[in-house]
Symmetry: C2
Subunit: 316 residues, 2 copies
Amino acid sequence: MTGHVVALCGGVGGAKLAHGLELALQPTELTIIVNTGDDFQHLGLSIAPDLDSVVYALAGLSDPDRGWGRRDETWTFMKALKGLGGESWFQLGDGDLALHVERSWRLAHGVSLSEVTAHLCRALAIATRVLPMSDDPVRTRVLTAEGWLDFQEYFVHRQCQPAVREFMFAGADRARAQPEALAALQRRDLRAIIMCPSNPFVSIEPILAVPGFRAAMGQSHAPVVAVTPIIGGKAVRGPAAKMMTELGLEVSAAAVARRYADIIRGFVIDQADPLPESLQGVRFFSAATLMNSTEDRLRLAHAVLQVADTLSATHP
Amino acid sequence: MTGHVVALCGGVGGAKLAHGLELALQPTELTIIVNTGDDFQHLGLSIAPDLDSVVYALAGLSDPDRGWGRRDETWTFMKALKGLGGESWFQLGDGDLALHVERSWRLAHGVSLSEVTAHLCRALAIATRVLPMSDDPVRTRVLTAEGWLDFQEYFVHRQCQPAVREFMFAGADRARAQPEALAALQRRDLRAIIMCPSNPFVSIEPILAVPGFRAAMGQSHAPVVAVTPIIGGKAVRGPAAKMMTELGLEVSAAAVARRYADIIRGFVIDQADPLPESLQGVRFFSAATLMNSTEDRLRLAHAVLQVADTLSATHP
């Protein structure tokens, strides 16, 4: 099938499938909408971790072992910063800093996050459209037993230790959906909307909280397909499983599917897991969702596109 | 002799003698006033090259070979920045960046350059007082055959190639002399005011252009002693000799002394040069002014202090 594909993502797993989709499709066939809820200001720099994960993945610059940041990284800056008594809880690699510095001064000069991202993509020869969910600031905050914490304070500084009770996406209600992102979801030739295997609470739901996206997805004739971030009752990476436990949810792919039930038509679980009981309006599919190599990414992308095409064929 | 010593400096030669004086004196006996005319904004960062040269010299962090920046430096940031199409004419080492980032975000939060410098010195265990000439921006500009250029544009980007005609220190007339720096020059127990072997046009004269310093120096009972940046008709480092030629001045230690004649009582030329003809109100002294080692720095500091003490003894 042909048509345009929109992927929603955040975090490392999301970036991996976004990369797989980029390999599976022509640049004109794909728009990637990225969570900006965990963006923050640090040491005067504007840091956008999820955009960076996607950009590095698509540019072939991701570190293959660490799972975040740039490959061939050095750490002289952090060492020197510690020597100056600077804040060292957030690791900034020397090469990674180039992206933060370039972004920060352009934003400070009034250039939008979309334009900065487009500039960085051009410089790195990324032809696929990578868009922040909004050019307005949306900041994920986490209610814990210790009160509300800014996302990076919770995620990096406190290493997700405080138990979570609730999330808020400060500014989301006033944020304007990135216009091209919204337009992509409203395309008549839309083939699929893919919710990547990202953390539901802090990667996908901040995107859905920006006014316009959820409605556009609901009104689209194209199937919305989500890929599980949970395999065998565990998160592939990050705090998703811990969060589910703390929120009183079952830690399973099915529980993620239930959370998305009002918006998805297909849900891809890992081949290692049994197919869940039926869920009103949602069909389950099975695939190899673990992405340890570029081939895995491409294979999962093809599988997810096939799921979407199957759904379109059976319920056009 | 005892008493307080004030050193005026900018650039690498200045930083070296400042370091020698720091080794020769107790921390409470020395105040170093540093040129900020070549400070600038680059990639959203507030860069203060002369302050950094002094801080690195006093912290033992200067690169011994390159002559500027930090030792044990890496360059991953610059490489990555080039990959992003960023401006790469101004070299920023990975470790050096830590200082720029720390300074920049503090300045952006309204902390003064003096306070930021004091903070950095504390972090690096520098007990001697290092002060910017002013907390207000003063920006050296260079009139060339191509018109006015910002200092770093001329100095780094254009590598001092355009012939100079004139200098201006934009903002100097409205700048407030750093209060502790001015107070140091007004101390009753002042032993000496040392003008380090720095470029007269772009390191020392910007300091003298800030209202208050020149008057305080003129009113002090302490001798003002300058050290030549010119040896054998050549600048030890940097564009001083080229500038003198372009301005129609003789390239000699004596010409520098004449330029300072209204403010100095002693002038130290290099031992390799002949003593110049007499100059009204200025006594010439000879010393080993080339500083290739820490020992050289300390030896020159002692020599310059002895010059000051000799001048005090003969003309108290």
